[in-house]
Each structure stands twice: as C-alpha cells, then as structure tokens.
Amino acid sequence: MLRYISKRLLYILMTLFLIVTVTFFLMRAAPGGPFSSEKQVPPEIEKNLNEFYGLDRPWYNQYFDYLVSIAKWDFGPSFKYKGQTVNDLINEGFPVSFFLGMESLLLAISIGVLLGIIAALNHNKWQDYTAMVLAVLGISVPSFIMASILQYFLAIKLGLFPVARWESLQHTVLPALALAATPMAFIARLTRSSMLEVLSNDYIRTAKAKGLSRGQITVKHAVRNALLPVVTYLGPLSAQILTGSFVIEKIFGIPGLGSHFVTSISNRDYTTIMGVTVFYSILLLVAVLLVDIAYGFIDPRIKLAGGKKGE
C-alpha cells in the first residue's frame, strides 16, 4: 500500500512538473506579453514594471524562480488586479466554490444513485424508462444551457428560487442542482447497469431463498456491491464539477474561484490563469489519488497495481 502511494505520488509530482513547465513556457509565448493590452507606457515605467515582476532576467532564472515559488505555494501576483496576488484570489474564492462543489457532489451522488436503484429494481418498467430518459437528457444538454434554462424557468418565471448571487442557503440550491445535473445522469446510468449485474448474481438468489425481504436484499446485499463502480467515478466526477463551476458560477453571479478564473480568461490575466490552472491541477490530482486509495480499502478484491511485487 505504501509502495503504491509513493509510486502514485511520484507520478503526481511528474505530472505537476509538466503542467508547471508547460504553463510557464506558454505564458512566455503568449502574444505581446502580459502588459500588451494596456495603454502605451513610457519605457522607464515599462522597465520598472519588468524589474518588479522579474521579467528582465534571463528565462532560466525566471523559470527556476517560478518552480520555487510554486513549491512554496505562492502563485504570484495578478497582472490585472493591482496589488492582489493569485493566492488572495484563491483564498477568497475557493471556500465559496468548495461549498458549492460539495453541495452538488452530494446532490449528484444521492439523487443519481437513487434514480439508478429505482430504475434497476423496476427493470423495463415505466420507472426505468423515466429515469433513463432523465439521464439521457442530463448527459446531452451542455451545462450552461441547462443552468440558463433552470434559472429562467425556476427562478425568473416561477420565482421558486433567488435568481442569482450568493447570500443564503436558498441561493445555493439552484446552482448546485445545475452543476449536479450531468454527473447525476452519469451516476444514474452507472448505478443502474451495475445494479442489474449484481441482481443477477447467485448470492442474491440465496438471499431471496433465505426469505429476506426485498428491502433487506436491496440495501444489504445489492446496493453495497453495486456502488463500487460509482466510487471509481468519483475522480472524473470531481473534475467535472470543478470545470462545471466556471460556467455555473458565472451564470449565477457567485463570487467563487470559477468565476474569477473565467474573468481572468476574458481579461487575458495571464498570471491568474496560470496560477489557478496549477492550483486546480494539484486539487484534481490529489482528489483522484484519494479516490483510488479509498477504492482499495472499500473493495478488498482490488490489488493496487504497485503492490503486487513487494507485498
């Protein structure tokens, strides 16, 4: 197990190194450099600016400094918001995004699993078809369209929820639902097919023969095993929720890291784009690792890949 984790950590470090390197050189290759879109500045001021941001030094010094500062969890200054660092943006925006992300994660998993179980227990009946139609809809509608339509009908037309902003728990319901829609659909399909597979196993027949009630069989024997594939999906799921948050936070006017990121994209605020990209990458890589480790604990049949030789 330790061997496996250290091996994975090594890969994560390599991937991160690659990401940091690529972002650094892409930033240097960016057309015109970070100050290009601003008004013409006098050469003395430009020189001062370059000195301040260290742009007058050779590229390998800059590259090395960048690596060191990332290792120290310092993502550098924002080029567009004067006096603000990328770390400030992250510290300010991430808690909001994290709350929203967790809420939609819970929604996606609970409703998705429930739909999947209902569909599988009523295989080829109307419940099954309804759940699968919902799932297909969730998979084929892009998130920004889904979010706009939900906002339009549920908030503007029917007034059930606040239209935008981030104040009370009520404000979080609609964005979390919009963010959860696509992953929910994936989870429902996944749960349904793995439930169907599990339900055809011999031990389910044994449980029936023992005279257990339907509820007991479902909860104690079927669902526990059927949820394993859903656990593997948690890694890609967190990626999906994270990238989905860019769009959702923008639509609902939520002051999270996602909307900061989108703003920095349209402002061409290069350092913020790079910093937030690196931050998100670290987050995702760690999330995927945690999911894989958890999977090894939950399902003892899985031998983690690195462990086969040493243990």
Binding site: M14, L26, S140, V247, I251, I273, S281
Partner: protein, 305 residues
C-alpha cells in the same frame, strides 16, 4: 392399398454430410454485428438522426436564400417566420442558415478531433502493446503522466495562448485527447498478440507493420469504433463550453456552441435564438451516445442486458 405414384418418391440424400449441415448462411463478423445493431431500435433511431443531421449540414445552408454571415440590421431578432424559418439573431443573420452552417463547424470539430485521436492513439497504443517490454513501459508512463493533466484546463490554457480558431481548437483538444484511445488499443493488442494467428503470421515472416494493420488492428476495430463514436460528443461538448467562455470560433463563423452561448444571453426575450442551436447540440450528442452504446452491445453480445 392405395397406389402412390412413382414421381412422389425422391431418393434420400446419399451424402450423410449434407444432412448434418446447418443451413444458416455463413455471415461475416460485421454482417452479424449489423444484424444485432439493427434490432436495437434506439440505436437505429440515433443512426437515422445522425444521417439526417449530416445531410442537413451539407445541404441545409443551400436551402435558404440567406447567407450565414450577412448582417441585416433592419430585421434583427425576428421570431421564426415563413421568411426566416428559425428567426434571426441580434445582427439580423438568418438562424436557419447559421444553424446548418454551424452544424458543419461543430461536426467538423467533433469528427476531426476524433479522427486525430484515433490516428495517434492507434499508433501509440498499437506499438506500445505489440512491442511490449521497455518500449511499452516508457510509452505508457509518458501517457500516464499526460493523462494526469486535467483535460479542460489544458484546452483552455492553449486556447488563451494560441488564440481562437478552428485549427487551434482541434489541436488543443487532441493534445491529450488521444490517450484514452491509446490505452484501449494497447489493452486490445496485448490480448490479441498471443493468439495463434499472430504466431502463424510471424512464422510466415510477415513484417511488424503487416501484422499490426492486417491482423491486430482489424480485430481491435470494435472497441476502437466504440471509443471513437463516444469521443465525438465530448469534442462537441468541449466546443460549446469553450464558446461560452469566449474562446470559441471567431465571428462571423458560426458553430452551435457560439450560437447557443449568444442565445443564452437573449433567453428572456428571444428564446428561439437559444432553442435551435441547443436542440441540435442535444440531438447530436444523444445520437452519438446511443449509436455508441448500440455498437458496443452489437459488438459484444455477452455484455447485453
């Protein structure tokens, strides 16, 4: 006793082997797949839908006298009518023409991204799987490291730096998009390369490339095809997502993604501007998904539930 006329008698089949014969005509693998695929109503529906969409992408822009890029500032934001079948947008451009022109762009992005992924993925995975040993180790470790890079973040980053455009978008999507294909092809090749017919080909002195392209890849074609069908919707989705972030194809080019993200802003007052592109994005993604699922079931009947 009744007389039976002589001509009613027929000689029994002398050759006993004939009698043993099972009369179903032999079918090639792909014919068999097609027969199974045809029975899947949802998948057939998806296939018909795809054919219709491609047909309209080719001929749709010619069906109306309006052009996708011509502004008509006297007729902005018109609802659908007999003149403008799908209405007009904020610059008075005909949405019907733009929708089908956008279909070309969106489908082109989707299909070319899938084809490039296919090309790189099959080569990479095929070589890694067939060579095995050190080559496999090195090639797959490179793929593993790249696989960790979050897909959409890299695409956004590249689009910001390289600038908007059709070519850069496809490049950004394929730069790590091929890894999934490579992994699947490698898995298949690892399974297939120990089969007797590969050994036979090797014994006969067939070259590596002949074994790859004549024996291994055709046999892995099933999973390759399914992976490809399911990767087209990902690309179309990504295109729509990038358009919403303002990184889509530049004006006046139309794609479903740019049209839908423009339409979203106007949802309250001019809902048709969102309705048409959004509907066709959903239909296309739906169609590719059900065709992909149908193909998977048809290729491997054991998986069928």
């Amino acid at each position: 006793m009744q007389q039976i006329p002589k001509e009613m008698f027929q000689p029994a089949i002398a050759d006993s082997r004939e009698a043993e014969k099972i009369s179903k005509p032999s079918l090639s693998f792909w014919k068999d797949v097609f027969i199974r695929f045809r029975k899947n109503k949802l998948a057939m529906f998806g296939l018909v839908l795809l054919i219709l969409l491609v047909f309209m992408a080719i001929f749709g822009p010619h069906m109306t006298k309006y052009d996708y890029a011509t502004n008509d500032l006297m007729n902005t934001n018109q609802p659908p009518s007999s003149k403008h079948w799908f209405g007009t947008d904020e610059l008075g451009r005909d949405i019907f023409a733009r929708t089908w022109y956008g279909a070309r762009v969106s489908l082109f992005i989707g299909l070319s991204a899938a084809l490039i992924d296919l090309f790189i993925g099959v080569l990479w995975g095929g070589i890694a799987g067939y060579r095995g040993g050190k080559t496999d180790e090195v090639m797959m470790r490179i793929a593993d490291v790249l696989y960790g890079v979050p897909y959409l973040l890299l695409v956004i980053l590249l689009m910001v730096i390289l600038g908007q455009g059709l070519g850069t978008m496809i490049l950004a999507m394929t730069i790590t998009g091929w890894i999934n294909m490579a992994r699947i092809v490698r898995g298949q090749v690892l399974q297939l390369k120990n089969q007797e017919y590969v050994l036979a080909a090797q014994t006969l002195g067939a070259s590596t490339s002949r074994i790859m392209f004549k024996h291994l890849i055709p046999n892995a074609m099933g999973s390759i095809l399914v992976t490809m069908t399911l990767s087209v919707p990902t690309a179309i989705f990504t295109e729509a997502f990038l358009s919403y972030l303002g990184l889509g194809v530049p004006q006046p080019l139309a794609s479903w993604g740019t049209m839908a993200s423009d339409g979203v802003q106007a949802l309250q007052y001019y809902p048709w501007r969102l309705f048409f592109p959004a509907t066709f994005i959903c239909l296309t993604i739906f169609a590719f998904n059900v065709v992909g699922d149908g193909l998977r079931d048809a290729l491997d009947p054991r998986l069928r539930k």
